[in-house]
Symmetry: C2
DNA sequence: TCCCATGGTGTATAGTTATTCATTTGTTAT
DNA sequence: ATAACAAATGAATAACTATACACCATGGGA
C-alpha cells in the first residue's frame, strides 16, 4: 500500500498516545518513524482525519482524535474481526469482501458503526460483504477507508 | 462589573449558537454587540475560556465550548438557582454567598459541578454558601468565575 | 494616602496552519 | 498500452493565532 495510509495511521497513533501541540512537532515524530513529509501535507492529513485542537486545561492547545469513543472492547473487536478478513475485490464500482465463514457480519458491523462518508452501505452474508461506495469514490479511497477503520487490515490488503 | 465579563459572556453566547471559524469573524460579531476589542484580546479570552477548535466534519474548523454537556435541564437549573441568589461578600479570602432560604444547596451544587480551578470547594447550609477560593485567586476572579457558571448573576453582583 | 503588585489591553511581531500554484504520480476508460 | 483525468505533494506564501513588550488601571497593604 501507498505511503499515505502509513502516514495517516502513524498520525493517529502518535496523537492518541501523546500530547502534540503543533505540526512541526508532529513532523519530527513522523521523521523518527522514517516518514518524511512537509507541513503542508500534514495540515491536509489532519484535516482529513478530522483531528481537533483542544485546550490542554488552559495551558495551551493539543491535537485530539475525533470521537474518542474508547469503548474498552473496541480494539478487541477490531482484532477479532480483522482475523476473519480474507480479501477484497471490486466489480462494477462495488467492493466484495470475502471473509472466513461467520465473520462477515462482525466486520460489516464495524464498518457500519464507523459510518464513513466513502461508503454508502454494506450488505453482509455469512462469508461475504458487499460494499457500496459513494459516487466518485475510488477503489483506493475505499481501501484507505477500510484501513482507517480496521488498521489491522493494512498488511492483508 | 467590568467589560471583560460582558465580553466573555458574549463570546460564549456566540460560539454556542453559531459556527465561527476564526477570530476576525468573532471580532466582527462582537462589534455588532457594541464590544470593540482586538484580536490579541480575543485570543487570550478563548484560551481563558478553554475554547476548542474542532473539525467541522472535514470542511474546516470551528470554535466550540468545552464540556458541551448540554443536558436540556441545565439552563433551567441555572435560572432557578440564580433567582435565589442574594449577595456575595468576602472575608479572610473566603466568599460568603447569601441566598433565599433553601436555595443554597442547588447553587452550590452547580458550582461544584462546574468544578472551576478558581474554587477549591463550597460548603452549603440552607441560605448560606461558603466559597473557598484557591490561593492567589482574587475576589474579582471568584466573581468572574461565578458569572461564568451562572450568567444570570451578572446583574445581581 | 501612597506604593507596589497584579491584571488587562493594544501594538507589533513571532509562531503556527492553510492554501495556491506547479509538478509529479497514480487511476480509469478506451 | 496510452490518453485523459484525478490525486498527492512540496515550495512559497497567505491566513490565522499567540505572545513579548509597553502601558495603564486597580486594589490591597504599609
Amino acid at each position: 500500500m501507498g505511503n499515505r495510509t502509513e502516514r495517516l495511521l502513524a498520525i493517529r497513533n502518535i496523537i492518541s498516545s501523546q500530547k502534540v501541540s503543533n505540526q512541526e512537532e508532529l513532523l519530527e515524530l513522523l521523521e523518527k518513524k522514517g516518514l518524511n513529509y512537509t507541513q503542508a501535507t500534514l495540515s491536509r492529513d489532519l484535516k482529513f482525519l478530522k483531528v481537533n485542537k483542544i485546550s490542554d486545561r488552559g495551558r495551551g492547545y493539543i491535537y485530539e482524535l475525533p470521537d474518542q469513543h474508547h469503548l474498552p472492547g473496541q480494539e478487541l473487536a477490531e482484532t477479532y474481526a480483522a482475523q476473519g478478513f480474507v480479501s477484497i475485490q471490486f466489480a462494477n464500482k462495488l467492493g466484495v469482501i470475502k471473509t472466513l465463514p461467520g465473520y462477515a457480519p462482525s466486520i460489516a458491523s464495524l464498518i457500519d458503526k464507523a459510518n464513513p462518508f466513502e461508503i454508502v452501505g454494506t450488505l453482509a452474508g455469512d462469508d461475504t460483504i458487499l460494499i457500496i461506495p459513494h459516487d466518485n469514490v475510488s477503489e483506493k479511497d475505499v481501501i484507505n477507508t477500510l484501513i482507517m477503520i480496521l488498521p489491522e487490515l493494512k498488511d492483508k490488503i
